[in-house]
Symmetry: C2
Subunit: 218 residues, 2 copies
DNA sequence: TTTTGCCTGTTATTTGCTTAACAATGTGCT
DNA sequence: AGCACATTGTTAAGCAAATAACAGGCAAAA
């Protein structure tokens, strides 16, 4: 399993960029391009060509000298690395403003990532469909997750329910959680967790605006 | 201006954590706590106490031995660092599903960060209020940004308009952009840019789920 | 009063990632 | 053919951040 093993050593940041390269490449392909240079990819993503080449080196993909990389090929290689063959089923947990926006947004974006269920506690939402996806009761979490083979959950419940909902998700056998709640959650080692807090990011931007202002005023 | 200067050297990650510490501390304060240990903060945030102490060292705040940190004090010190005294005015550019969710979410969360305007191209949205905030035409961008003294923009327009809208924002004098569009944008050096791509994050979680599955199957 | 233990604050080490440097190579031009 | 050069692929250096290691000190227990 040599091939599989070196995936493990890919830097997290490289994984992120591969996802981005692929989307950029698909657009290029649609535009009729067949080959692309590292500096072109770099330009689209606003990074350096060195970084692109380094990432591609890490996944063992080689381009042709003076012709660049074959777009079609490269898309396939990246897909083979980051996509699961069977596809990964996704649930949105908490069908509020953000949950619904995400549901609509993600649906149909990547065919290996299918949103197949929503969950909520609100009686009015339970049983309804949103963009063709059923909203289930949180009480049926375990059953539905098992039946629909859901592996990934996007957590968008109110912050005060983050912890308990995360626990339910883990107990139900979820393998990865994307937490958009401002409250950090804890998961066992075999569950992959990614957290993103918008208020933090907003405050960070505000801080650097403030700092820049002060620097100018000196 | 010694004080101001060392803010410049604070690691980006420390800034992010300060924002999070503060929110956690405010909750503790509400609960009647007056002092807190580094390991308690660490527990809430699911990080190590060393990291907490190191961050606090960097901002030059000292606790009391065996009593920990004075919560009220610490909140003030952090606020003094990351908050702008005048407050920073924010605009949401692109009042779609995500834009509206964010508008509602951010409003009133932090009183030094006020969302004061929305912008859109859709005639039906222009002139309407959402959560008490007016949605202006993108054609009035420069005027409104100037009049309301808006410094920070959250970009939530469709990806194909990211680039042109970013340019408009920069021209209008915006000092910081938070780009939630999947298309990377480019800004001059004096504009602070933060980008976040949800699909990338989702694919990353999916990748690690897949990898973990394969490791098990060996 | 001494000792133990708990907590802070600081310095040193390690890790992960980015950037720089450069060797290798085939293409087109002269 | 031979030279100039754009472009790839790899190794080395540099940076930022996290973690580890540890010194210092006070409070309570013995
Ligand atoms: N709206 C945003 O733009 C935004 C941005 C960043 C983060 N967030 C975070 O996302 C979360 C949701 O935000 P929102 O604006 O969509 O809030 P919301 O109130 O619109 O939605 C919350 C939804 O979760 C449901 N819910 C409540 N308790 C539940 C439980 N125990 N299990 C399952 N579902 C439950 C509610 O019925 C509701 O439908 C919050 O934690 C918020 O901090 C929101
Ligand atoms: N919805 C989500 O959950 C989500 C998540 C991540 C990223 N995004 C990104 O955020 C952006 C918006 O997503 P959405 O789901 O809200 O889409 P949407 O179509 O609901 O909203 C887009 C809004 O922008 C307005 N608009 C169009 N052109 C404009 C212009 N030139 N200037 C100003 N406004 C303009 C439209 O009238 C509409 O109101 C997209 O780039 C999307 O990729 C959305």
């Amino acid at each position: 399993m040599k091939i599989k093993n070196y995936y493990k050593n890919l830097p997290h940041k490289t994984i992120e960029r591969l996802s981005q390269y692929r989307r950029a490449l698909m657009i290029c392909l649609d535009n009729g391009k067949t080959h692309i240079f590292s500096h072109e990819i770099a330009n689209i993503q606003h990074i350096t060509s060195v970084q692109v080449r380094r990432d591609l080196m890490l996944i063992g993909y080689s381009g042709t000298l003076r012709k660049g990389y074959n777009i079609q090929d490269l898309i396939e290689v990246i897909s083979h690395i980051i996509d699961d063959e069977e596809g990964i089923k996704v649930a949105v947990v908490g069908m509020g403003n953000l949950g619904r926006a995400l549901m609509k947004y993600v649906r149909g974006k990547r065919h290996k990532l299918e949103v197949v269920a929503g969950f909520d506690t609100n009686e009015e939402k339970i049983g309804k469909e949103y963009k063709g996806v059923t909203c289930y009761s949180i009480d049926d979490l375990e059953k539905v997750i098992d039946e629909l083979n859901i592996k990934l959950a996007i957590l968008t419940v109110p912050a005060k329910y983050s912890t308990e909902t995360a626990e339910k998700l883990v107990d139900a056998g979820i393998k990865g959680i994307l937490n958009y709640t401002p409250k950090p959650i804890r998961v066992p080692e075999d569950v992959y967790l990614e957290e993103y807090d918008m208020i933090t990011t907003l405050e960070k931007v505000a801080f650097y605006i403030k700092m820049h202002q002060e620097k100018e005023g000196e």
